[in-house]
């Protein structure tokens, strides 16, 4: 655990007044506040540091303790015993994990203070949050990893949020980066206020041979030279099974064909699918026998 220089975090001198600390905090908060930097994890992290520094330096008692024991924080407990600091155990309500290993974290993170802070000041509630926790519960944010095959079908998953199992239905066709809101699955409200919401952002990995663009899928299928020249049949994989395709005679390399309705399901439109686009890649034969070479030479003569 490292010592945190709160004065440095706020960019102020050790002897500054309380109002200078307030000004420095507000100036930095206007730059890094999560409300002004949506979906910016770096800004959120920076704001937590600024918020923590302000939490300590704007409170005369905490600032006194920090100034006295800051670098020698290990002895701070002695100070706490003598002083009037309540040592409530900090309960982090914002770190969750479910069986699948997804990480859940709160949207704001203001009370995710450093170990250094926890060690010096225990779990004292942030004074700055009092305005936010009087009615509506806080929102939770989560990231759920799916692979493309999972996203192809409507399915259910059970995730654990704050010790509570939540069964969610993930509609087929969900997009990478798409966010869904589960109303009321955030932190409980107080004073009769509504619960917060749970926001799940989907991160979809693709380990298939298909490329997805919206509802369409793209893939490349190799065909041999003879099938390309003379025509024939080829079996190709789609996400709904194998399909036999006719290859027209004299098919050129990089020819694209469309399989209607063999693409990805359209989100929340049951029975609707995008298309699959197949590019034929003609494979030139290698390791030809002498006889085959001769035949190709014969063939070449016929075209000149």
């Amino acid at each position: 655990m490292e010592y945190v220089d709160y004065y440095k975090v706020l960019g102020v001198d050790k002897n500054v007044s309380a109002s200078d600390i307030k000004n420095a905090y507000r100036k930095l908060a206007r730059k890094h506040h999560p409300d002004l930097n949506p979906n910016d994890k770096e800004a959120n992290k920076k704001f937590q540091q600024i918020n923590e520094a302000n939490e300590v330096l704007s409170d005369p008692e905490k600032r006194k303790k920090y100034d006295q024991y800051g670098k020698d924080w290990k002895h701070a407990e002695e100070f706490a015993r003598r002083g009037s600091f309540g040592e409530r155990q900090r309960q982090s309500q914002r770190q969750y994990s479910n069986q699948g290993g997804q990480t859940f974290s709160g949207g704001f993170g203001e009370d995710d203070f450093s170990d250094f802070f926890a060690s010096m000041f225990g779990g004292q509630e942030s004074r700055g949050r009092s305005r936010q926790t009087k009615f509506r519960g806080q929102d939770y944010n989560a990231e759920l990893k799916l692979d493309l095959i999972d996203a192809y079908k409507t399915h259910q998953q059970t995730i654990t949020v704050n010790g509570k199992n939540v069964r969610i239905t993930i509609p087929a066709g969900i997009e990478n980066g798409q966010q869904i809101r589960l109303k009321g699955y955030g932190a409980p409200g107080v004073n009769g206020g509504p619960n917060g919401d749970l926001y799940i952002t989907f991160s979809i990995t693709n380990n298939t041979n298909f490329k997805r663009m919206g509802n369409d899928l793209y893939t490349t299928v190799e065909i041999d030279l003879y099938t390309a020249v003379l025509g024939g049949e080829v079996t190709v994989d789609t996400l709904s099974g194998k399909v036999k395709l006719k290859v027209k005679p004299e098919t050129q390399n990089e020819t694209k064909i469309r399989l209607k309705g063999k693409g990805f399901p359209v989100y929340k439109k049951e029975g609707e699918f995008g298309d699959m686009f197949i590019t034929f890649s003609v494979k030139i034969p290698t390791n030809l026998t002498e006889k085959q070479k001769e035949l190709f030479k014969e063939l070449a003569k016929t075209t000149s």
């Binding site: 206007r30 506040h33 002004l36």
Partner: protein, 103 residues
């Protein structure tokens, strides 16, 4: 009073904000207030946004004109972020092809 509404007075008391501030937000077109029998209410679905505006004003000391500009810019940021995600998803189509083309 419908369950999904909170009276503006209760809101101000819970969040420790002045009624005049909420009134000004409405006048600037930044929030919606529901009126029933000459009483004003806030829909629970709008609380998240109003909480944010309250933080901007009381925690960051930003005045209403600033909040108005920020709201406009944040909407732009939101739209641009959605566009970036869509473009990144499209880019995935070409990424591997680029690699194979280099060989």
């Amino acid at each position: 009073m419908p369950e999904h509404l909170i009276s503006t007075d209760d809101f101000c008391s819970h969040y420790k904000v002045e009624y005049s501030f909420i009134n000004s937000l409405q006048q600037h077109g930044l929030i919606e207030i529901t009126s029933i029998d000459q009483h004003s209410f806030i829909d629970h679905d709008h609380l998240k946004n109003i909480e944010k505006l309250v933080r901007l004003h009381y925690d960051l000391d930003i005045n209403l004109e600033g909040i108005e500009a920020i709201t406009y810019l944040l909407n732009r940021v939101k739209n641009m972020q959605a566009e970036i995600i869509a473009l990144k998803n499209r880019l995935r189509l070409y990424e591997d092809k680029q690699v194979s083309d280099t060989f």
